[in-house]
């Protein structure tokens, strides 16, 4: 399919594919097996100028849009979703600053992220607050010219590896969700520490840790936007990140399809390549159709976001929901096409199947995506009456 990409967009995608083919694919099984954080690949991405795709040029980035971002993410996810998640999580950490940061905050924090000198992370989830972002327990209490933070953030991607963290904490308990605020923390801030590295089903090249805040004292100017804006900052950040999660799903599913189809042409049973059997053809046909549908949706939503519409919450949720459910089905089917081989760790599709699961869970579960879309529909149809 030709999605009418500009020459520049194709160049960007091809560069990301080059990194996938030359740097990620040769070591993805090893990164998964050994659960190694992919610093070398992060350095390659920095060298290639890809750490600042969506960061404006005045802060050292490329100043590109959502579509360019999803093109890169899709290409990297064809290599490894663990690596691509590490990369994408840095943007997740950067979005609050990009969208709501003060000029000083942007000047200080965006250039090192754009140059790939520092990774960022977004710290929202807690033991009792995930989907229910209003239940956050971590607190940020104002003390003169400082905020003092206490609490524990759970399952934070890039925690311990990143230098820059955007943390959501409660500044006014009485106001509920409207009492949460977003603040920037640095790895070296006093009172900041990290828990053990979590052992995960998939995306093992990505690091997930607890971020512990004990009397973490930071200057007042680390507050992003105003007190009470934490929930809005979070929602807008996630709106911007969701097409990216969809793009990871598209890249992953495409790679699983490529592996399964190539295998089906090579594998002989009953004297012919198994791709000659209609049972296999139909599986592959459904996989290919779903991948293309998901890609079309992700690109369309990304292009729409690049027109800077006022509200894109619903379509952003759609661009995460459909592709990530699709990637789960397609990777399961890829294993099925490849049979016993697909189940073996010697072949890459079992890892893809494990990696796919998290896409339905992180950055808002797909149940939450349906809530968001349902809520938006309810609103739309009330207006239409």
């Amino acid at each position: 399919m030709d999605y009418l990409l500009t020459e520049e967009q194709q160049m960007l995608r091809d560069l990301a594919r080059q990194i996938t083919n030359e740097r990620i694919k040769p070591i993805r099984a090893e990164l998964d097996e050994e659960e190694t954080f992919p610093w070398d690949i992060m350095n390659d991405l920095a060298q290639a100028d890809l750490c600042g795709t969506v960061i404006p040029e005045e802060y050292g980035g490329l100043g590109l849009g959502c579509l360019e971002n999803v093109l890169v993410l899709e290409a990297l996810a064809m290599g490894c979703v663990g690596v691509a998640t590490t990369y994408a999580a840095s943007f997740l950490g950067a979005y609050p600053l990009l969208l709501y940061g003060s000029e000083d905050q942007k000047q200080k924090y965006l250039p090192p992220i754009a140059k790939g000198e520092a990774l960022a992370a977004f710290a929202l989830t807690e033991a009792q607050a995930g989907s229910d972002a209003g239940a956050i327990q971590a607190t940020a209490v104002k003390d003169g010219d400082f905020y003092v933070l206490n609490g524990a953030k759970q399952w934070i991607t890039n925690a311990g590896e990143a230098e820059i963290y955007t943390v959501i904490a409660v500044t006014d308990r009485v106001k509920g969700a409207r009492g949460a605020s977003a603040l920037v923390l640095e790895k070296s801030d006093p009172g900041v520490s990290f828990g053990k590295k979590e052992k995960k089903m998939g995306i093992r090249a990505s690091t997930t840790r607890e971020m512990i805040l004990e009397e973490a004292r930071i200057p007042r100017d680390r507050l992003i936007s105003k007190e009470g804006m934490g929930f809005i900052v979070t929602m807008k950040t996630l709106d911007n990140a969701r097409p990216g999660a969809g793009a990871l799903a598209v890249g992953l599913a495409q790679e699983a399809l490529d592996e399964a189809a190539a295998f089906a042409k090579e594998r002989h049973q009953f004297g012919v390549p198994i791709i000659h059997f209609q049972a296999v053809q139909h599986l592959l046909a459904d996989m290919a159709t779903k991948v293309e549908a998901a890609r079309a949706l992700v690109y369309a939503v990304a292009r729409y976001i690049d027109t800077r519409p006022k509200d894109y919450t619903k379509v952003a949720a759609m661009s995460k929901l459909f592709p990530t459910d699709m990637a789960m089905q397609v990777t399961v089917d890829a294993v099925q096409v490849m049979g016993g081989h697909g189940y073996m760790r010697e072949y890459p599709v079992e890892k893809m199947m494990r990696d796919a699961k998290i896409l339905q869970i992180y950055e808002g579960t797909n149940q939450i995506m349906r809530n968001i879309i349902g809520l938006a529909l309810n609103k739309e149809y009330s207006k239409k009456k």
């Binding site: 020459e7 520049e8 160049m11 960007l12 560069l15 080059q18 990194i19 030359e22 740097r23 390659d44 991405l45 060298q47 290639a48 100028d49 890809l50 490329l62």
Partner: protein, 262 residues
């Protein structure tokens, strides 16, 4: 400010190289072209020298007009400039005519302190152009370099890769170095450099620009012609012995006697 020139070559991607039955030169039609893989290591080493010592890296290639793509792609890794040598009269050049043409272009560029090439191109596999170019320019060369160290501003210590181990040699600039893959790990291209490369003006120099007569270059200026291409016979097993010379001589004598008997 070192003047560094890297000579690169656009080659067919396939391993299955075919020859034109009439001219016995490489057939390129319908095959995807890439930068000769060894040349990317030469580009990387040139960039590292520039970053450490300061300087300017210029790419040079001789080839058909589409070789410009290889130059633009290589510029994406960060070199400063590129020149394409292209003329119908250059076609069919053997290694000598190629080196002669490159040499004249380097003189036109005002010479160079350091010239890098890959150890050989994967299509012709001759490994001759680099050393011939050094001979034409009357400068020293070190082939198969796997490590470079500046001992002062114009002296290089070079580890030259051999079948068993390496030679440590020193060379004074200006010099030509051909590199093996062991010398470095090439970086990824940069998007900003690729954007710049797309618009970079690349001068194309032909016969007249370099002041040649048609019979001096290309097929006409070539001394050799490829008659047949075949894989060399496999080398026999080799062993490395170490020890005092008299002992080794005795051992060798013994072995030769045994071989003579069987």
């Amino acid at each position: 400010m070192l003047k560094i020139i890297v000579c690169i070559k656009q080659v067919p991607e396939t391993q299955d190289v075919r020859l034109d039955p009439v001219t016995h030169t490489l057939k390129r039609e319908g095959i995807k072209s890439i930068i000769n893989p060894f040349d990317l290591y030469a580009v990387e080493e040139a960039l590292r020298v520039k970053e450490a010592q300061g300087g300017k890296v210029t790419l040079l290639t001789m080839g058909p007009p589409q070789a410009e793509e290889a130059l633009r792609e290589a510029l994406g890794y960060g070199p400063d400039a590129a020149v394409l040598l292209s003329d119908r009269a250059f076609a069919g050049a053997d290694t000598w005519a190629t080196a002669l043409t490159l040499g004249r272009a380097i003189e036109k560029l005002g010479g160079a302190d350091l010239i890098f090439t890959g150890k050989q191109a994967i299509d012709g596999d001759t490994a001759q152009v680099g050393p011939m170019l050094a001979a034409i320019l009357n400068i020293p060369f070190v082939a198969w370099a796997r490590k470079l160290t500046f001992t002062d501003n114009n002296r290089l210590q070079v580890e030259r890769m051999m079948d068993h181990g390496y030679d440590a040699v020193e060379v004074e600039l200006p010099a030509l170095i051909t590199v093996v893959k062991e010398i470095n790990e090439p970086r990824m291209p940069s998007f900003k450099a690729k954007l710049k490369a797309k618009k970079e003006p690349i001068p194309v120099w032909g016969l007249n620009d370099l002041g040649f007569q048609p019979e001096q270059v290309g097929l006409a200026g070539s001394f050799t012609q490829v008659v047949k291409v075949f894989p060399p016979p496999a080398r026999g097993q080799s062993e490395t012995w170490e020890g005092p010379a008299p002992e080794l001589a005795a051992r060798l004598w013994q072995r030769l006697k045994e071989m003579g008997r069987s």
